[in-house]
Point group: C2
Chain length 187, copies 2
DNA sequence: TTTCCTTTATCTATCGATAGGTAGATTACG
DNA sequence: CGTAATCTACCTATCGATAGATAAAGGAAA
Protein backbone atom coordinates (compact mmCIF):
# COMPACT_ATOMS: atom_id res chain seq x y z
CA UNK A 1 0.00 0.00 0.00
CA UNK A 2 2.65 2.53 -0.94
CA UNK A 3 0.09 4.64 -2.74
CA UNK A 4 -1.98 4.87 0.39
CA UNK A 5 1.09 5.80 2.39
CA UNK A 6 2.40 8.41 0.00
CA UNK A 7 0.03 11.12 1.04
CA UNK A 8 -0.99 14.07 -1.03
CA UNK A 9 1.03 13.03 -4.05
CA UNK A 10 -1.87 14.09 -6.24
CA UNK A 11 -1.93 10.55 -7.48
CA UNK A 12 -3.88 8.67 -4.88
CA UNK A 13 -6.58 11.26 -4.56
CA UNK A 14 -8.25 12.11 -7.78
CA UNK A 15 -11.68 13.44 -7.12
CA UNK A 16 -13.09 11.83 -4.00
CA UNK A 17 -10.67 9.44 -2.36
CA UNK A 18 -12.49 6.57 -0.74
CA UNK A 19 -11.14 7.53 2.64
CA UNK A 20 -14.59 7.99 3.97
CA UNK A 21 -15.58 4.46 3.02
CA UNK A 22 -12.39 3.03 4.39
CA UNK A 23 -13.06 4.82 7.68
CA UNK A 24 -16.49 3.22 7.80
CA UNK A 25 -15.01 -0.17 6.94
CA UNK A 26 -12.47 -0.01 9.74
CA UNK A 27 -14.99 1.34 12.24
CA UNK A 28 -17.49 -1.38 11.37
CA UNK A 29 -14.96 -4.12 11.86
CA UNK A 30 -14.03 -2.75 15.28
CA UNK A 31 -17.62 -2.02 16.34
CA UNK A 32 -18.64 -5.56 15.47
CA UNK A 33 -16.03 -6.80 17.91
CA UNK A 34 -16.37 -4.50 20.90
CA UNK A 35 -19.55 -2.51 20.37
CA UNK A 36 -20.00 1.23 20.57
CA UNK A 37 -17.37 1.72 23.26
CA UNK A 38 -15.11 -0.80 21.58
CA UNK A 39 -13.64 1.53 19.00
CA UNK A 40 -12.16 5.00 19.06
CA UNK A 41 -11.39 7.75 16.59
CA UNK A 42 -7.69 7.11 17.07
CA UNK A 43 -7.95 3.39 16.46
CA UNK A 44 -10.04 3.87 13.36
CA UNK A 45 -7.71 6.55 12.06
CA UNK A 46 -4.65 4.38 12.66
CA UNK A 47 -6.23 1.47 10.80
CA UNK A 48 -6.92 3.69 7.79
CA UNK A 49 -3.59 5.52 7.96
CA UNK A 50 -4.80 9.00 8.81
CA UNK A 51 -5.07 11.16 11.91
CA UNK A 52 -8.05 11.19 14.21
CA UNK A 53 -8.83 14.77 13.21
CA UNK A 54 -9.45 13.52 9.70
CA UNK A 55 -12.01 11.08 10.98
CA UNK A 56 -13.70 13.94 12.79
CA UNK A 57 -13.70 15.85 9.51
CA UNK A 58 -15.87 13.18 7.90
CA UNK A 59 -17.88 12.34 11.03
CA UNK A 60 -17.99 15.27 13.48
CA UNK A 61 -19.09 13.19 16.46
CA UNK A 62 -18.99 9.55 17.40
CA UNK A 63 -22.76 9.47 17.25
CA UNK A 64 -22.56 10.58 13.62
CA UNK A 65 -20.08 7.85 12.81
CA UNK A 66 -21.97 5.09 14.58
CA UNK A 67 -25.30 6.18 13.15
CA UNK A 68 -24.01 6.05 9.60
CA UNK A 69 -22.36 2.76 10.45
CA UNK A 70 -25.70 1.25 11.43
CA UNK A 71 -27.51 2.80 8.46
CA UNK A 72 -24.98 1.53 5.94
CA UNK A 73 -25.02 -1.89 7.58
CA UNK A 74 -28.80 -2.04 7.29
CA UNK A 75 -28.76 -0.98 3.63
CA UNK A 76 -26.17 -3.58 2.69
CA UNK A 77 -27.82 -6.30 4.74
CA UNK A 78 -31.27 -5.80 3.22
CA UNK A 79 -29.86 -5.33 -0.27
CA UNK A 80 -27.81 -8.50 0.12
CA UNK A 81 -30.95 -10.48 0.91
CA UNK A 82 -32.48 -9.86 -2.49
CA UNK A 83 -36.19 -10.05 -3.14
CA UNK A 84 -38.29 -11.41 -0.25
CA UNK A 85 -40.87 -12.83 -2.66
CA UNK A 86 -38.36 -14.79 -4.75
CA UNK A 87 -37.80 -18.51 -4.13
CA UNK A 88 -35.48 -19.50 -1.28
CA UNK A 89 -35.88 -16.21 0.54
CA UNK A 90 -35.85 -17.71 4.03
CA UNK A 91 -32.72 -19.69 3.23
CA UNK A 92 -31.01 -16.51 2.08
CA UNK A 93 -31.79 -14.86 5.42
CA UNK A 94 -30.32 -17.83 7.23
CA UNK A 95 -27.29 -17.66 4.94
CA UNK A 96 -26.80 -13.95 5.58
CA UNK A 97 -26.42 -14.46 9.33
CA UNK A 98 -24.29 -17.53 8.73
CA UNK A 99 -21.94 -15.51 6.55
CA UNK A 100 -21.36 -13.11 9.44
CA UNK A 101 -20.42 -16.10 11.56
CA UNK A 102 -18.37 -18.23 9.20
CA UNK A 103 -16.96 -15.73 6.72
CA UNK A 104 -16.52 -12.55 8.74
CA UNK A 105 -16.31 -14.21 12.18
CA UNK A 106 -18.11 -11.18 13.47
CA UNK A 107 -21.29 -10.35 15.32
CA UNK A 108 -24.18 -8.64 13.55
CA UNK A 109 -23.44 -4.94 14.05
CA UNK A 110 -26.99 -4.06 15.00
CA UNK A 111 -27.31 -7.15 17.16
CA UNK A 112 -24.36 -5.97 19.19
CA UNK A 113 -25.56 -2.37 19.24
CA UNK A 114 -29.00 -3.64 20.18
CA UNK A 115 -27.59 -5.46 23.19
CA UNK A 116 -26.25 -2.18 24.54
CA UNK A 117 -29.03 -0.01 23.16
CA UNK A 118 -29.78 1.84 26.40
CA UNK A 119 -26.19 3.05 26.51
CA UNK A 120 -26.18 4.42 22.96
CA UNK A 121 -26.77 7.98 21.73
CA UNK A 122 -30.29 8.53 20.48
CA UNK A 123 -29.43 8.59 16.79
CA UNK A 124 -27.61 5.28 16.98
CA UNK A 125 -30.48 3.64 18.82
CA UNK A 126 -32.91 4.87 16.18
CA UNK A 127 -30.73 3.47 13.42
CA UNK A 128 -30.55 0.12 15.22
CA UNK A 129 -34.33 -0.01 15.51
CA UNK A 130 -34.43 0.78 11.80
CA UNK A 131 -32.37 -2.33 11.14
CA UNK A 132 -34.67 -4.59 13.11
CA UNK A 133 -37.79 -3.10 11.58
CA UNK A 134 -36.40 -3.48 8.07
CA UNK A 135 -35.24 -7.03 8.67
CA UNK A 136 -38.50 -8.07 10.32
CA UNK A 137 -40.43 -6.52 7.47
CA UNK A 138 -38.31 -8.38 4.92
CA UNK A 139 -38.76 -11.65 6.82
CA UNK A 140 -42.52 -11.14 7.06
CA UNK A 141 -42.71 -10.73 3.30
CA UNK A 142 -40.49 -13.76 2.80
CA UNK A 143 -42.67 -15.93 5.02
CA UNK A 144 -46.10 -14.85 3.88
CA UNK A 145 -49.21 -16.64 5.03
CA UNK A 146 -50.86 -16.01 8.38
CA UNK A 147 -49.35 -14.84 11.63
CA UNK A 148 -46.42 -13.48 9.68
CA UNK A 149 -45.42 -10.92 12.29
CA UNK A 150 -44.82 -13.38 15.12
CA UNK A 151 -43.24 -15.90 12.75
CA UNK A 152 -40.89 -13.28 11.36
CA UNK A 153 -39.99 -12.16 14.88
CA UNK A 154 -39.22 -15.73 15.88
CA UNK A 155 -37.01 -16.25 12.87
CA UNK A 156 -35.03 -13.01 13.11
CA UNK A 157 -34.68 -12.99 16.90
CA UNK A 158 -33.79 -16.67 16.81
CA UNK A 159 -31.09 -16.21 14.18
CA UNK A 160 -29.70 -13.23 16.05
CA UNK A 161 -29.53 -15.28 19.23
CA UNK A 162 -28.05 -18.25 17.39
CA UNK A 163 -25.27 -16.06 16.02
CA UNK A 164 -24.59 -14.64 19.46
CA UNK A 165 -24.60 -18.03 21.17
CA UNK A 166 -22.54 -19.79 18.51
CA UNK A 167 -19.90 -17.09 18.67
CA UNK A 168 -19.82 -17.10 22.45
CA UNK A 169 -19.25 -20.86 22.59
CA UNK A 170 -16.98 -20.85 19.55
CA UNK A 171 -19.25 -23.49 18.05
CA UNK A 172 -20.27 -22.46 14.56
CA UNK A 173 -22.22 -25.67 14.03
CA UNK A 174 -24.57 -24.59 16.80
CA UNK A 175 -25.85 -21.90 14.47
CA UNK A 176 -26.77 -24.41 11.77
CA UNK A 177 -28.53 -26.68 14.21
CA UNK A 178 -30.61 -23.82 15.60
CA UNK A 179 -31.30 -22.28 12.20
CA UNK A 180 -32.62 -25.56 10.84
CA UNK A 181 -35.12 -25.88 13.67
CA UNK A 182 -36.12 -22.25 13.48
CA UNK A 183 -36.90 -22.50 9.79
CA UNK A 184 -39.06 -25.56 10.40
CA UNK A 185 -40.81 -23.79 13.26
CA UNK A 186 -41.84 -20.76 11.20
CA UNK A 187 -42.75 -22.61 7.99
CA UNK B 1 -29.52 6.00 52.96
CA UNK B 2 -27.82 8.06 55.64
CA UNK B 3 -26.14 4.94 57.00
CA UNK B 4 -24.49 4.39 53.67
CA UNK B 5 -23.39 7.99 53.55
CA UNK B 6 -22.04 8.16 57.09
CA UNK B 7 -18.81 6.38 56.33
CA UNK B 8 -16.69 4.58 58.84
CA UNK B 9 -19.04 5.27 61.74
CA UNK B 10 -18.50 1.75 62.99
CA UNK B 11 -22.19 1.22 62.58
CA UNK B 12 -22.57 0.29 58.97
CA UNK B 13 -19.70 -2.14 58.93
CA UNK B 14 -19.86 -4.86 61.54
CA UNK B 15 -17.74 -7.78 60.57
CA UNK B 16 -17.60 -7.96 56.78
CA UNK B 17 -19.47 -5.03 55.36
CA UNK B 18 -21.38 -6.04 52.29
CA UNK B 19 -19.39 -3.56 50.29
CA UNK B 20 -18.12 -6.26 48.05
CA UNK B 21 -21.61 -7.39 47.17
CA UNK B 22 -22.81 -3.85 46.68
CA UNK B 23 -19.89 -3.25 44.33
CA UNK B 24 -20.91 -6.29 42.34
CA UNK B 25 -24.53 -5.14 42.33
CA UNK B 26 -23.66 -1.72 40.97
CA UNK B 27 -21.21 -3.11 38.44
CA UNK B 28 -23.74 -5.66 37.19
CA UNK B 29 -26.40 -3.04 36.67
CA UNK B 30 -23.98 -0.90 34.64
CA UNK B 31 -22.51 -3.83 32.71
CA UNK B 32 -25.98 -4.99 31.71
CA UNK B 33 -26.53 -1.61 30.11
CA UNK B 34 -23.29 -0.84 28.33
CA UNK B 35 -21.29 -4.04 28.36
CA UNK B 36 -17.69 -4.50 29.45
CA UNK B 37 -16.58 -1.06 28.32
CA UNK B 38 -19.80 0.46 29.65
CA UNK B 39 -18.74 0.73 33.26
CA UNK B 40 -15.68 1.99 35.10
CA UNK B 41 -14.13 1.70 38.52
CA UNK B 42 -15.01 5.30 39.22
CA UNK B 43 -18.65 4.93 38.24
CA UNK B 44 -19.06 1.77 40.27
CA UNK B 45 -17.33 3.34 43.27
CA UNK B 46 -19.50 6.46 43.07
CA UNK B 47 -22.67 4.37 42.94
CA UNK B 48 -21.64 2.50 46.08
CA UNK B 49 -20.31 5.56 47.85
CA UNK B 50 -16.63 4.68 48.05
CA UNK B 51 -13.48 5.58 46.19
CA UNK B 52 -12.26 3.73 43.14
CA UNK B 53 -9.21 2.51 45.04
CA UNK B 54 -11.55 0.58 47.33
CA UNK B 55 -13.03 -1.20 44.36
CA UNK B 56 -9.51 -2.11 43.27
CA UNK B 57 -8.93 -3.54 46.74
CA UNK B 58 -11.74 -6.06 46.26
CA UNK B 59 -11.14 -6.62 42.56
CA UNK B 60 -7.55 -5.84 41.56
CA UNK B 61 -8.24 -5.64 37.84
CA UNK B 62 -11.29 -5.08 35.71
CA UNK B 63 -10.96 -8.60 34.41
CA UNK B 64 -11.28 -9.88 37.98
CA UNK B 65 -14.39 -7.80 38.55
CA UNK B 66 -16.07 -8.76 35.28
CA UNK B 67 -15.18 -12.43 35.68
CA UNK B 68 -16.75 -12.62 39.12
CA UNK B 69 -19.68 -10.66 37.76
CA UNK B 70 -20.33 -13.29 35.11
CA UNK B 71 -19.75 -16.17 37.55
CA UNK B 72 -22.14 -14.75 40.15
CA UNK B 73 -24.70 -14.04 37.44
CA UNK B 74 -24.50 -17.64 36.25
CA UNK B 75 -24.86 -19.05 39.76
CA UNK B 76 -27.91 -16.93 40.53
CA UNK B 77 -29.48 -17.58 37.14
CA UNK B 78 -29.18 -21.36 37.36
CA UNK B 79 -30.18 -21.41 41.02
CA UNK B 80 -33.20 -19.25 40.23
CA UNK B 81 -34.37 -21.76 37.65
CA UNK B 82 -34.87 -24.50 40.21
CA UNK B 83 -34.82 -28.19 39.33
CA UNK B 84 -34.80 -28.97 35.60
CA UNK B 85 -36.66 -32.22 36.16
CA UNK B 86 -39.53 -30.64 38.08
CA UNK B 87 -42.81 -29.76 36.34
CA UNK B 88 -42.98 -26.50 34.40
CA UNK B 89 -39.22 -26.27 33.97
CA UNK B 90 -39.33 -24.85 30.44
CA UNK B 91 -41.83 -22.20 31.50
CA UNK B 92 -39.51 -21.18 34.33
CA UNK B 93 -36.68 -20.68 31.85
CA UNK B 94 -38.93 -18.52 29.70
CA UNK B 95 -39.97 -16.61 32.82
CA UNK B 96 -36.36 -16.03 33.88
CA UNK B 97 -35.52 -14.24 30.65
CA UNK B 98 -38.82 -12.39 30.75
CA UNK B 99 -38.02 -11.12 34.24
CA UNK B 100 -34.82 -9.57 32.91
CA UNK B 101 -36.92 -7.78 30.31
CA UNK B 102 -40.00 -6.72 32.28
CA UNK B 103 -38.74 -6.45 35.85
CA UNK B 104 -35.13 -5.38 35.50
CA UNK B 105 -35.44 -3.83 32.04
CA UNK B 106 -31.95 -5.10 31.42
CA UNK B 107 -30.14 -7.33 29.01
CA UNK B 108 -28.85 -10.73 30.10
CA UNK B 109 -25.34 -9.98 31.38
CA UNK B 110 -23.76 -12.92 29.59
CA UNK B 111 -25.80 -12.28 26.48
CA UNK B 112 -24.30 -8.83 26.28
CA UNK B 113 -20.83 -10.03 27.18
CA UNK B 114 -21.25 -12.79 24.64
CA UNK B 115 -22.00 -10.28 21.90
CA UNK B 116 -18.63 -8.64 22.51
CA UNK B 117 -16.80 -11.81 23.49
CA UNK B 118 -13.82 -11.32 21.17
CA UNK B 119 -13.09 -8.00 22.86
CA UNK B 120 -13.13 -9.40 26.40
CA UNK B 121 -10.21 -10.52 28.58
CA UNK B 122 -9.74 -14.28 28.56
CA UNK B 123 -11.16 -14.92 32.02
CA UNK B 124 -14.34 -13.05 31.27
CA UNK B 125 -14.84 -14.93 28.02
CA UNK B 126 -14.39 -18.23 29.83
CA UNK B 127 -16.95 -17.23 32.44
CA UNK B 128 -19.41 -16.26 29.70
CA UNK B 129 -18.97 -19.64 28.03
CA UNK B 130 -19.59 -21.17 31.44
CA UNK B 131 -22.93 -19.43 31.56
CA UNK B 132 -24.02 -20.73 28.18
CA UNK B 133 -22.84 -24.24 28.90
CA UNK B 134 -24.64 -24.30 32.24
CA UNK B 135 -27.84 -22.87 30.82
CA UNK B 136 -27.82 -25.20 27.82
CA UNK B 137 -27.19 -28.13 30.14
CA UNK B 138 -30.10 -27.12 32.35
CA UNK B 139 -32.37 -26.67 29.34
CA UNK B 140 -31.38 -30.05 27.94
CA UNK B 141 -32.36 -31.69 31.22
CA UNK B 142 -35.59 -29.74 31.29
CA UNK B 143 -36.53 -30.81 27.79
CA UNK B 144 -35.55 -34.45 27.91
CA UNK B 145 -36.42 -36.83 25.08
CA UNK B 146 -34.42 -37.11 21.90
CA UNK B 147 -32.32 -34.50 20.14
CA UNK B 148 -32.11 -32.59 23.38
CA UNK B 149 -28.93 -30.75 22.52
CA UNK B 150 -30.23 -29.03 19.40
CA UNK B 151 -33.61 -28.40 21.02
CA UNK B 152 -31.99 -26.83 24.08
CA UNK B 153 -29.77 -24.71 21.85
CA UNK B 154 -32.78 -23.48 19.91
CA UNK B 155 -34.62 -22.57 23.07
CA UNK B 156 -31.77 -20.78 24.84
CA UNK B 157 -30.41 -19.00 21.76
CA UNK B 158 -33.96 -18.08 20.75
CA UNK B 159 -34.81 -16.62 24.14
CA UNK B 160 -31.53 -14.73 24.21
CA UNK B 161 -32.28 -13.26 20.78
CA UNK B 162 -35.87 -12.51 21.75
CA UNK B 163 -34.69 -10.55 24.76
CA UNK B 164 -32.19 -8.65 22.64
CA UNK B 165 -34.68 -7.88 19.89
CA UNK B 166 -37.53 -6.94 22.23
CA UNK B 167 -35.30 -4.53 24.11
CA UNK B 168 -33.93 -3.02 20.89
CA UNK B 169 -37.42 -2.31 19.56
CA UNK B 170 -38.80 -1.37 22.98
CA UNK B 171 -41.51 -3.96 22.41
CA UNK B 172 -41.72 -6.27 25.40
CA UNK B 173 -44.62 -8.18 23.90
CA UNK B 174 -42.34 -9.33 21.11
CA UNK B 175 -40.56 -11.48 23.66
CA UNK B 176 -43.76 -13.28 24.64
CA UNK B 177 -44.75 -13.88 21.05
CA UNK B 178 -41.37 -15.37 20.21
CA UNK B 179 -41.10 -17.36 23.43
CA UNK B 180 -44.46 -18.99 22.85
CA UNK B 181 -43.43 -20.20 19.40
CA UNK B 182 -40.02 -21.33 20.60
CA UNK B 183 -41.52 -23.45 23.34
CA UNK B 184 -43.86 -25.10 20.87
CA UNK B 185 -40.98 -25.68 18.47
CA UNK B 186 -38.83 -27.54 21.01
CA UNK B 187 -41.60 -29.54 22.70
C1' DT C 1 -0.38 -5.40 67.31
C1' DT C 2 -1.82 -7.36 63.41
C1' DT C 3 -5.21 -7.55 59.81
C1' DC C 4 -8.58 -5.72 56.86
C1' DC C 5 -10.63 -1.97 54.62
C1' DT C 6 -10.60 2.55 53.05
C1' DT C 7 -8.67 6.85 52.14
C1' DT C 8 -5.74 10.54 49.67
C1' DA C 9 -2.96 11.36 46.06
C1' DT C 10 -1.02 10.36 41.95
C1' DC C 11 0.56 8.03 37.62
C1' DT C 12 0.37 7.03 32.63
C1' DA C 13 -2.54 6.32 28.78
C1' DT C 14 -6.33 7.30 26.17
C1' DC C 15 -10.83 9.31 25.32
C1' DG C 16 -13.85 12.57 22.17
C1' DA C 17 -13.40 16.95 20.48
C1' DT C 18 -11.54 21.48 18.81
C1' DA C 19 -8.48 25.21 16.93
C1' DG C 20 -5.77 26.72 13.44
C1' DG C 21 -3.24 25.92 9.40
C1' DT C 22 -1.67 23.85 4.68
C1' DA C 23 -1.90 21.80 -0.04
C1' DG C 24 -4.51 20.90 -3.82
C1' DA C 25 -8.71 21.01 -6.43
C1' DT C 26 -12.76 23.57 -7.88
C1' DT C 27 -15.41 27.48 -9.00
C1' DA C 28 -16.56 32.45 -10.03
C1' DC C 29 -15.46 36.38 -12.29
C1' DG C 30 -13.10 40.17 -14.87
C1' DC D 1 -7.80 33.33 -20.74
C1' DG D 2 -5.99 34.19 -15.81
C1' DT D 3 -6.60 35.04 -11.10
C1' DA D 4 -8.93 35.42 -6.94
C1' DA D 5 -12.10 33.21 -3.77
C1' DT D 6 -13.76 29.07 -2.08
C1' DC D 7 -13.96 24.27 -0.91
C1' DT D 8 -12.16 19.68 0.41
C1' DA D 9 -9.26 16.86 2.87
C1' DC D 10 -5.98 16.42 5.60
C1' DC D 11 -2.37 17.96 9.10
C1' DT D 12 -0.18 19.41 13.98
C1' DA D 13 -1.12 20.47 18.44
C1' DT D 14 -3.79 20.65 22.24
C1' DC D 15 -7.89 20.67 25.33
C1' DG D 16 -10.35 18.90 29.59
C1' DA D 17 -12.12 14.58 31.04
C1' DT D 18 -11.69 10.01 32.13
C1' DA D 19 -9.69 5.33 31.87
C1' DG D 20 -7.31 1.47 34.81
C1' DA D 21 -4.03 1.07 38.17
C1' DT D 22 -0.76 1.91 42.19
C1' DA D 23 1.64 3.55 46.57
C1' DA D 24 1.39 5.17 51.06
C1' DA D 25 -1.02 6.10 55.04
C1' DG D 26 -5.10 6.26 58.29
C1' DG D 27 -8.34 3.90 61.09
C1' DA D 28 -11.44 0.36 62.96
C1' DA D 29 -11.75 -4.39 64.61
C1' DA D 30 -9.89 -8.42 66.83
Amino acid sequence: MSAAHANGTAENRRRPPDRRDRILDAAERMARRGGYHGFSFREVAAAVGVKSASVHHHFPTKEDLATELAARYTERFIAGLGAPDAPGAVDRLVAAYRAALRQDDQMCLCGLFGAEIDALPIGVGDAVRGFFRATLDWAARALGGTGTQARAETLVAGLEGALLTARSLRDADLYDRVAERLVRAVE
